[in-house]
């Protein structure tokens, strides 16, 4: 092959696309492996003779596991509701009110999301030990509210910034009270951002382990329980739980793109 042909190929990006394809295999192979392993009758994937769903049936008998699933939903939903309250009010504060130290506040709110989870975990652990709260659902919830609030706040403040103040001014000029302006104008405009942020925050909460691991006593969420199962090695049951978590996360993500993705499209049109 001559070098001229080589550069022509490069222009169309065939080499690059091939490289990208390899990376996609790297990204998705592990996820596929987990799902395939979960249907294997034996521990190994190679020489897999047939397909079984017996591990899934076994999961349904595991009351401790089912309890952990329930706990994860309890923590996730509570954390999302609290984060919506803190995050949305914070978003309005940071976008609508001019006050000194805004940059500092913005940076500090980001911290729980950008710092290594181990720092959030250990500072919260030291804090709750000092104020004598026993390790419980409450302590895990505190951890989860710490990182779900920035998610909501930055999603919502991005939306508020994009829509500008004109609609609110128009409503007020037409005689709407601040409450009516919020209820009939602002809230519908940030609705999809709220739903998207809530789904994103729930997904992160449902999968979180690094911070939760510090704050967990005997009341366990699903990832912490699954981590405990790993102490006895990789069993087909571990794969089955993993596969279910994987499918659940993927469904949440797909649902999320309906809200977050669509607003990204609008943004492009406006530009």
């Amino acid at each position: 092959m001559s070098s001229a042909a080589g550069t022509r190929l490069e222009k169309r990006g065939v080499g690059l696309k091939l490289y990208a394809l390899l990376i996609f295999i790297f990204l998705y192979l592990p996820l596929i492996v987990v799902i395939v392993f979960s249907f294997s009758p034996t521990k190994t994937i190679v020489g897999m003779s047939g397909v079984t769903t017996k591990w899934y049936k076994e999961l349904m008998q595991d009351t401790e596991l089912l309890k952990a699933v329930l706990h994860s939903f309890e923590v996730g939903i509570s954390a999302v509701i609290i984060a919506l309250l803190f995050g949305t009010s914070g978003a309005f504060f940071i976008t609508k009110v001019r006050f000194p130290g805004k940059g500092v506040l913005r940076a500090l709110v980001m911290l729980p999301f950008v710092l290594p989870g181990i720092i959030m975990g250990l500072t919260l652990l030291i804090f709750i030990k000092n104020i004598k709260i026993p390790l419980s659902m409450l302590t895990i919830l505190m951890g989860h509210v710490s990182f779900t609030t920035p998610i909501v706040m930055f999603q919502v403040s991005a939306r508020i910034q994009r829509m500008g103040p004109n609609f609110q001014h128009a409503a007020q000029d037409l005689g709407a009270t601040p409450f009516k302006t919020f209820w009939y104008v602002t809230l519908p405009m940030i609705r999809t951002a709220l739903i998207g942020a809530a789904l994103l925050a729930f997904t992160v909460s449902f999968d979180e382990i690094v911070i939760s691991y510090f704050l967990t006593g005997t009341w366990m969420t699903l990832p912490v329980y699954l981590y405990g199962m790993l102490r006895f090695g990789l069993s087909p049951k571990v794969y089955a739980v993993s596969a279910l978590i994987l499918v659940f996360s993927l469904s949440l993500i797909l649902l999320m793109t309906r809200y977050i993705g669509r607003s990204a499209e609008e943004f492009k049109v406006r530009r």
Binding site: L16, Y19, F24, L115, I119, V210
Partner: protein, 290 residues
């Protein structure tokens, strides 16, 4: 009402900020202060001696184990970040410049792994690299080896692969965002002036995408530096990283004051690095904004 002279609003409107400031105080600032205070305490067995002394920090700097592990974690984080860039930048480039159709799909495909359970991804890599894992099984079937190789799991290699896997979306998102912001007519101009794709890339695209690249680099560096679960799960004895040292102070070593001090060291390092990101990187990482 719209035209206000003052730079700041009437303090009465600050009430809106009360919830977020309370959240910040109780879940971020006060816990950090407690941690800082505890890092000066001493632990005598199970009793906590609440006095002010610098023993913990002295131990950190004088016992060569701790700076050595920190340095090892730095090197590993650097390697992971560079590898993540090598893998994420080209796909961001392809997604931004080479795709006509399926651009959004490609974008979604790259960030989906980010939101898939961290623990599940760790389990996946254990199952690929393990003794009876995918790689060993495949090698045995094609007859290259007779016995499973133990070189894949419980070493630095396994940690690096898994951390890189975790970090790729964190590099991809800011790089893709900065590539998308490059006006396409600049590329046409470079092309008209006779630059080929490589010249255009080196002289135009790469410099303009640098803020996103720096942000991605720093995000993956911090993730790799602070992680403790991946080294625990895949690192074996070679895999004791700085995060594990911190974690063990709250676990079996049971020396919370020393753990607090180590945690505070990591906090200072992370905040310094994040400050650099704010200065040189793109302002929006693209994770939290839409």
């Amino acid at each position: 009402m719209v035209t206000k002279k003052s730079r700041f609003d009437n303090p009465r409107s600050y009430t809106k900020g009360i919830p977020i400031v309370l959240w910040l105080l109780f879940l971020v600032v006060v816990p950090l202060i407690f941690t800082f205070a505890m890092s000066f305490y001493r632990s005598e067995g199970l009793v906590l001696e609440k006095s002010f002394n610098l023993e913990n920090y002295k131990l950190f700097f004088t016992d060569s184990v701790y700076p050595r592990v920190l340095f090892k974690s730095f090197r590993m984080a650097l390697g992971v970040s560079l590898l993540s860039i090598a893998m994420a930048y080209p796909i961001a480039y392809v997604a931004s410049f080479k795709m006509v159709r399926g651009k959004n799909l490609l974008f979604m495909m790259c960030i989906i792994p980010l939101w898939v359970s961290y623990l599940v991804r760790i389990i996946a890599w254990r199952s690929i690299l393990g003794n009876r894992g995918l790689i060993n099984s495949a090698l045995m079937i094609i007859g290259l080896i007779e016995e499973p190789l133990r070189i894949f799991l419980y070493n630095k290699f396994a940690i690096i692969v898994t951390l890189t896997y975790i970090c790729i979306p964190f590099v991809f998102i800011p790089v893709y965002t900065s590539l998308e912001k490059i006006p396409r007519n600049i590329l046409n101009a470079a092309n008209d002036l006779g630059a080929n794709e490589i010249h255009t890339f080196v002289n135009v695209v790469l410099p303009l995408s640098l803020p996103g690249l720096i942000t991605g680099f720093i995000f993956s560096f911090i993730i790799a530096l602070g992680d403790y679960i991946i080294p625990l799960q895949l690192g074996g004895t070679q895999g004791i990283m700085f995060g594990n040292l911190i974690w063990s102070q709250f676990g079996f070593a049971f020396n919370w004051p020393f753990g607090a001090a180590l945690g505070f060291v990591l906090f200072i390092i992370s905040v310094t690095i994040l400050g650099l990101a704010a200065k040189f990187g793109s302002t929006e990482g693209g994770f939290l904004s839409e």
